[in-house]
Symmetry: C2
Subunit: 241 residues, 2 copies
């Protein structure tokens, strides 16, 4: 994703095995879309948030302003596609987890799978470039929200339709909140540092956050100050508190 190439880069590939008919049209569309998105990210990098317009992005991507709006409903949406890619990747990982695993464990595993430089880098960069802009922050919130809904659907599919909607919504929302918390805290501590050490911290934060959730946020007098070091095993330690 977010390649720097423009439209003709994907032109010659016409016979690859892709899901659902990778026709010339679809390849062009995907290329254009990605070209717009990376033009937007480039401008965000070079100019800073709020200092460029849709027209700039369109010009930089080699399309008309009108075409930009055929692909994205707003400037923010073009940038948020980076976050969407990250979230989609995470959801994919989540869905690949065994169905008998607990939701919390699956979520933890899915998020951990993304704590590598390749996956996290664009997200971390977006995080840093986005901090000071209201509109962009809103779009990011929306991406998390969308992710929550996807988790709800996935969990409903896994736990059966008999499960209460409240349980689903509360669980999915909390899981996402904890993932978000881990990333927020990590970013606050390490900024855009993507070194192995830094990423290890991110992974630990993800583990800890899910651990806290699984432990019901037991008062921090006990081990939960450093997260449940032993197990991400969410399955009840004690039924109640």
């Amino acid at each position: 994703m977010t390649q720097t190439s423009s439209q003709e880069a994907a032109a010659e590939v016409s016979t690859t095995a892709e899901p659902a008919t990778p026709s010339r049209r679809e390849l062009n569309k995907a290329a254009t879309r990605s070209s717009i998105a990376s033009a937007a990210l480039d401008l965000l990098r070079s100019n800073g948030s709020g200092n460029f317009t849709v027209e700039d992005i369109a010009a930089s991507a080699g399309v008309s302003r009108r075409t930009f709006f055929n692909y994205f409903p707003s400037l923010e949406a073009a940038l948020a596609s980076v976050a969407d890619g990250f979230m989609d990747h995470a959801l994919e990982q989540f869905r690949l987890r065994p169905a008998d695993e607990s939701i919390l464990e699956s979520a933890q595993a899915a998020l951990m799978a993304l704590a590598d430089p390749m996956s996290v880098a664009p997200m971390a960069e977006l995080f840093s470039l986005t901090q000071d802009n209201r509109q962009l922050a809103r779009s990011e919130l929306e991406a998390w929200e969308h992710c929550t809904e996807q988790i709800i659907d996935a969990a409903r599919g896994r736990l059966g339709t008999g499960i209460s909607e409240l349980y689903l919504h509360a669980l999915a929302g909390s899981v996402i909140s904890c993932g978000k918390a881990a990333m927020t805290v990590w970013f606050a501590e390490h900024g855009p540092d993507l070194s192995p050490t830094s990423l290890a911290v991110l992974r630990q934060h993800l583990i800890d956050a899910m651990g806290l959730l699984g432990a019901g946020f037991a008062p921090p007098s006990d081990a939960s100050l450093h997260g449940p070091a032993a197990s991400p095993s969410v399955s009840t330690t004690k039924d109640r508190f």
Copy 2:
């Protein structure tokens, strides 16, 4: 919430945090602000979301378009001030709770205190009128987000600065997520019904959601398996935590 325009921040000059010195100017400003907000809400009611402009609101409130933007940065912000009021009220309740109470209990109590028609009605109406509009939904997300940050601050003040930031962020985010989940599910089930019965369900959902959180979302082999309608799952309301 944070949409409040920059001007009124310097309102209280003297020593007191009291609403002392309600000068003519401040009264006028408050009246104008509230007049704009309710004009916006009226138009949302009568025209439906997306079918009126800032100019309409300004005209309806008897001010110029420019003055509208002196009070609110956007149309959505004017409407979101309803949600802001609700959240601020909830935060106020939260801060009034005894400091030795657990965060979850405090949050539950604060939210419960708002499950009365007077407080919930505007929020529920906003919920219903907002459902189909992207921009408005975004503003609402932002309101929840702001509320989360406030909870983080309040919890930090209560638990001391030694507490881990991850714990604070994850806990506050989860608490808010559960509150949101309770309201979302309640609204999905009951729409804008504000009857005592309906509000009792909302209260129960708030209790249940916080209970689930406190129990670490223990696998739904227990009471949380109930269908959407009846889930008096957490009967142990009082002797928890």
